[in-house]
């Protein structure tokens, strides 16, 4: 941004400590009175250098590293990575494994969308909805724990398949859970489309037209709320999606309300898929053998994360470690849409507009650098551990 422009206008810095969300990002809004006239973003506060780190770890270690790119949508990262590696190794995971991958991915989408519903409601000052949706989200968290043993970072994938199976008891629990959530979600859909005070914060706010959304490259529910028909699950089905297809959910209004409606309707679609998979899951093996050294080659692996298209470019040099792993997360695409739609709105609407794309900071940022009194250097693990012990003494 030009220095001159900065000096003549009033700039409101927001962040980096938890602007609207419980994650770090820094924004500078240039305002004219109450109205925002320009917006810029500064990310990287939780950058951890994972792409670099991946190059010095084996394919198996990378699976666990990639699962930790994001704490909310961890499974899709692992899934994009294993699907890419399996393509390079020319290995097909068994059908039952593919169905379980889809099952966990949809459960993850349910938990992610409900988490977002709560956060966005909280930003809109509607804490009752926040508390209720997070209470109900526990249902799906419990289901994920029942299946994988973990609430987050489920580690369901291995190279060549999955390591979790579902038995009859878990199937019953899944079906009961879906019935409960479906009933609750009907209620939430009613609330976000009928509650007057809440509509005052969402209807016609942060409007992004179809043309803008296309031009800015908006993806996922943010794009679909503006009528952009992009969903990797539909366009290029992967894992279990060819056998258990998904119907695309879109809206045309392009405002915050539409983003609420699209995400909530996607929940119903996820419930349907979970039920279908539980009823028709194919029998068979969970894993297939995969070589330790992956043949030379390059591949592109795309999956639909809860926030939109997740893009992996993986290059192998024929050894047991990748040459390059490039991760492009959906949040990165959607920032452009926020910074543009922010202009012309009141400053008070910013938290809602920021939350509207369901941004995920740890997805964008993957590196840590510590400052020492004598300058800057990278700490090794032992030093970091000692620092932690001293700090909390």
């Amino acid at each position: 941004m030009a220095e001159r422009e900065k000096s003549e206008k009033f700039v409101v810095p927001i962040g980096p400590q938890h602007p609207a969300l419980k994650e770090p990002g820094h924004f500078e809004f240039t305002v004219d009175g109450e109205v925002v006239t320009n917006a810029t973003a500064r990310l990287g506060f939780v950058h951890r250098g994972m792409e670099k780190g991946a190059e010095s770890r084996t394919w198996t270690q990378d699976l666990y590293l990639m699962e930790r790119v994001c704490g909310i949508c961890s499974h899709v990262h692992a899934m994009a990575f294993v699907l890419g590696v399996e393509k390079l190794a020319n290995v097909q995971a068994p059908p039952r494994a593919q169905a379980i991958r889809e099952l966990v991915a949809e459960l993850e989408r349910i938990h992610s969308h409900m988490l977002w519903l709560g956060v966005a409601a909280h930003e809109g000052g509607f804490d009752t909805l926040f508390m209720f949706s997070w209470r109900d989200r526990e249902t799906v968290m419990d289901l994920l724990e029942t299946i994988s043993g973990n609430r987050v970072n489920y580690s369901a994938n291995v190279l060549g398949g999955v390591k979790v199976d579902i038995n009859d008891r878990q199937k019953d629990e899944l079906l009961r859970g879906m019935d409960f959530l479906e009933e609750r979600t009907q209620h939430y859909l009613k609330v976000v489309t009928e509650d007057d005070t809440f509509l005052g914060r969402t209807r016609n706010i942060g409007v992004m037209s179809f043309d803008e959304a296309t031009l800015l490259g908006a993806i996922g529910p943010t794009g679909r709320a503006s009528g952009v028909l992009r969903d990797v699950r539909v366009d290029s089905p992967y894992a279990g999606y060819p056998d258990f297809p998904v119907n695309i959910v879109t809206a045309t209004a392009g405002d915050l309300e539409a983003r609420f409606v699209v995400r909530i309707k996607e929940l119903f679609e996820s419930y349907r898929l979970v039920r279908e998979i539980v009823e028709k899951i194919p029998p068979g093996d969970l894993t297939t053998k995969i070589p330790r050294r992956i043949p030379e080659g390059e591949t592109v692996s795309r999956v639909e994360a809860p926030r939109g298209e997740l893009f992996y470019f993986i290059k192998s040099n024929g050894t047991d470690k990748p040459e390059r792993v490039k991760v492009r997360t959906p949040s990165l695409c959607n920032w452009a849409s926020v910074l543009t739609t922010a202009i012309g709105h009141k400053l008070a609407d910013m938290p809602m507009i920021l939350a509207g794309i369901d941004p995920c900071f740890s997805c964008n940022d993957r590196m840590v650098v510590l400052k020492e009194p004598d300058g800057q250097s990278v700490w090794d693990w032992e030093k970091l551990r000692q620092y932690g012990i001293e700090y909390y003494k």
């Binding site: 810029t40 990287g44 031009l215 800015l216 592109v300 893009f311 390059r324 490039k326 543009t340 250097s377």
Partner: protein, 169 residues
């Protein structure tokens, strides 16, 4: 339009710019083009023909390796080999990748931000992490690295082994 038709159309659109083309996977078309033709290619794909959208820009470092005789470790040799910028476009399941090789001594390429505003974040990322220079890109501030990060140090280059080593020379 199915995947094969889409790829065929992309190949047709780019036909006269292609240095070499390959189909590394069923749904992919890789096209090597000259850096000077990048904007023309992007304009033809996205603006003139509305072929999909820009999905990502991947920066690659392809150095020549030397093998250390004692440790058998591969060491990237400075200045040999090249950087590479990959522009991935997706239309449904079809992916067209424009590949552009860039020499280390002049890794310059024109920014496509005036055609695709959303490219700014991808360009800033490649700029910081690999040192690819996008001429005419609207914003050159740091996006993810700290403001105090030393200039000319690019963490995703294969020769980068950590700031500590660099500081000690």
């Amino acid at each position: 339009m199915n995947t094969q038709e889409a790829l065929g159309k992309a190949e047709e659109i780019l036909a006269d710019l292609v240095i070499s083309a390959a189909h590394p996977e069923e749904n992919r078309l890789d096209v090597v083009i000259d850096p000077a033709n990048l904007k023309t290619a992007v304009k033809r794909l996205l603006v003139d023909n509305r072929w999909g959208y820009l999905s990502a820009i991947t920066g690659l470092d392809n150095p020549e390796y030397e093998v250390d005789e004692v440790t058998r470790e591969k060491i990237a040799s400075e200045g040999k080999g090249s950087l590479e910028a990959l522009y991935h476009f997706a239309a449904g399941a079809a992916i067209t990748t424009l590949r552009i090789a860039l020499p280390y001594d002049k890794p310059e390429i024109e920014s496509i931000c005036d055609l695709v505003p959303a490219a700014t974040l991808y360009e800033r990322e490649a700029m910081e992490l690999l040192g690819i220079i996008f001429t005419g890109t609207p914003n050159t501030d740091h996006l993810i690295l700290p403001d105090s990060w030393p200039e000319g140090v690019y963490p995703l280059r294969k020769t980068f082994k950590g700031l500590h080593d660099k500081a000690q020379g």
